[in-house]
Structure formats: structure tokens, C-alpha cells
């Protein structure tokens, strides 16, 4: 399966048929710091992603001068 990462945008291939939380752990990504997007939907950490699926791990963290955020 394919995982799309951002900032910078890139793709990695990982074994599928696993729960989202296992994929995040393998990629050393804290679940709190990303949205997990599959197609047009958000999915939760307990959902299983199949081989052939693509998910996007979209970072939610922004920083710097927060004054006008």
C-alpha cells in the first residue's frame, strides 16, 4: 500500500492489511499529529488498510508566529 506524506510531499510503500495505528508506529508518527485520509474520508487508528489502498497522513501542526493564525 501507498502512504502519502507532506512537508515535503512524498510517497512511501509499506505492507498493507494492517491497522492504521501499526502503520503510524512503523513510520514513527504520533497519531495526534496527523489526520489519516483514505479517499474522501477520515479513518480512525483501528481501521485496517488493505494492500493496494492509498492513505494520506496530513500533518496538523503549524507553528512560528501564531499571532494571526
Amino acid at each position: 500500500m501507498k502512504v502519502i506524506l507532506r512537508n515535503p510531499r512524498r510517497e512511501v510503500d509499506v505492507p498493507g492489511n494492517r491497522r492504521v495505528k501499526d502503520i503510524l508506529r512503523e513510520l514513527d508518527i504520533i497519531p495526534e499529529t496527523v489526520l489519516v485520509i483514505c479517499g474522501d474520508d477520515l479513518i480512525t487508528a483501528d481501521q485496517v488498510v488493505r494492500d493496494g489502498d492509498t492513505i494520506e497522513l496530513r500533518p496538523v501542526m503549524s507553528g512560528g508566529s501564531a499571532s494571526g493564525r
Partner: protein, 302 residues
Amino acid sequence: MKCRKCGETAVLELRRHNAAFCAPDFLEFFRNQVREAIRKHRMFTRDETVLVAVSGGKDSLALWDVLIDEGYRTTGLYLDLGIFEYSVESKAKCEKFAAARGVSLIVSAVADEVGAPVPIIKDVTRRPPCSGCGLSKRYLMNRVALEHGMPVVATGHNLDDEAATLFGSVMHWQTDALPRQSPALPSTHAKLVRRVKPLYRLSERETAAFAFLRKIDYIVEECPFAKGATSITHKEILSRMEDASPGAKHNFLFGFLDRARPAFERAESVLLNECARCGQVTTGTICAFCKLADQVKRRVAP
């Protein structure tokens, strides 16, 4: 995982609330949190026009979306920082958002006001870019609100922003900054408008989820100057704590607001003057914004 309210498949788990929600119930949860923030801190009324500071990012556009849907009178303010393609794209997102909803957007360019865009300000001042950027934003938000007769500025600061700011202040024991950290800062001078943060009860992930589910076209790419920023480091530390102990960020911030902030508020209040140059509020004779503009103009003048 099932939605806590209706039992349908959940799209988002909120571990700190020991809950998960489907999309419609999450959107309602989100709006309820904003309503509660506005109500609890009497941030603004429906008779007032709220100046919403928007950056093109998820937080400020999510905030504006909720306020419009709730029937508040709003005007957006986009401050063009002049940060290369990032600013071009973020401005376009704000203009598209405003046009689609038929709401007005004020655009003000930092380069016109300070004399140079943020990348040049960074070089001139030899300070972190976020420093001059933040100073310019605070000053211009207040001035634009005053010029347009709006009594309040709303920003998209979320729970993570506030917890990270508090963490930074505590790490350096900046006791002068602690009383100013609040979801709602009242007007303490005729030339200072109220500043409110209606998203302070919601995490960064929750605002991102709201923006995604509402199909808000926001800028996902990070500001190029944010890389390595201290606030990001603090957020990463807090997120690791949150992962190990859900609710840690909430407890840190809300515990401060409920129990510690009042103690710092009792400290001596500062005397506010009007800047001899621009007339805006300052604690000195010339405000920090005018000093910055002077410094920039000296260095970039032909």
C-alpha cells in the same frame, strides 16, 4: 470504532474525551465547543462586527466558517507577509473562501506598512522571522480593526497553540507574559480592541478535521520560516506527552487558566501610552512597530 452519539462508523477519535464521532456529530461537537468559548468569555455579540484574522490555514478558515454559519457579522483580514509562493497561495485561499461565502475580506500588505516583506525584515533585524512577523500581525490587526470601527479581533489560535505558548512562557518564567495569555483579552485602552480566541478549546487535529470535513480549501504546506521554530519544538514535546497521557495539553492549559493565571493577574498593571509617531498604544514613547519600520527603512532605503 463507533460514534459515541449515534453508533455509526467514527471518522475521528478524541482520546482526551474518551470518545469518537462520525462526521456530522463531530461537526456539531466542534461548533458546540466554539459556542461554549464565545459564551463563557463573552467574546462578542451578534450586534458587533468581528474582524477575523485569516492566514489561509486550517484554523483561521475553520473559525471563520463557524462564525459565518452561526450568523455572526464578520469581516476577514488577510495580512500579506510577502513570504514568496507561500503568501501568494495563502492569499488566494482566503480570497476564494471569502468570495464563495459572500463575505468581505480586507487585505493589508506588511511590505506597505513596514517598508519590506517578512523575509527582508528577518535579514534586517537579524532576529527569527517569527519575531517581526508576530509583532507586525498584532499591530496591524489592532489598527485595521480600529480604522474600520470593529471592536474585536478573533484569531484561530487553538488548544495546541495556547498550550505551546504557555509551555514556552513557563520554561523561561516569563511572568509578564502569563497574565496576557487568555482566550479573551479585554480592551484596556480606547485604542486597543478586544482580542479573542474562540478555538482555544479545540486541538489542532480537531480544527484540521473540521476543515477537511467541511471541504475548506486551506493551505496544507507549512510557512517556510516555521521550520525549526521553537513553538514547533514545544508542540512536538507536548504531543508526545499527549500521546502517553491523553488530556495532558488540556489539563496544562485549562489548569493554568482556572488556577494559576489569576495569581499572575494580580501583578502590577502597566501604564499604556500612545506612540508619539503613529498614535497606537505602547508602553514606551515610540511603539515597537514604528521602531521596526524605522530600522527596516534605514536599511532598505535606496
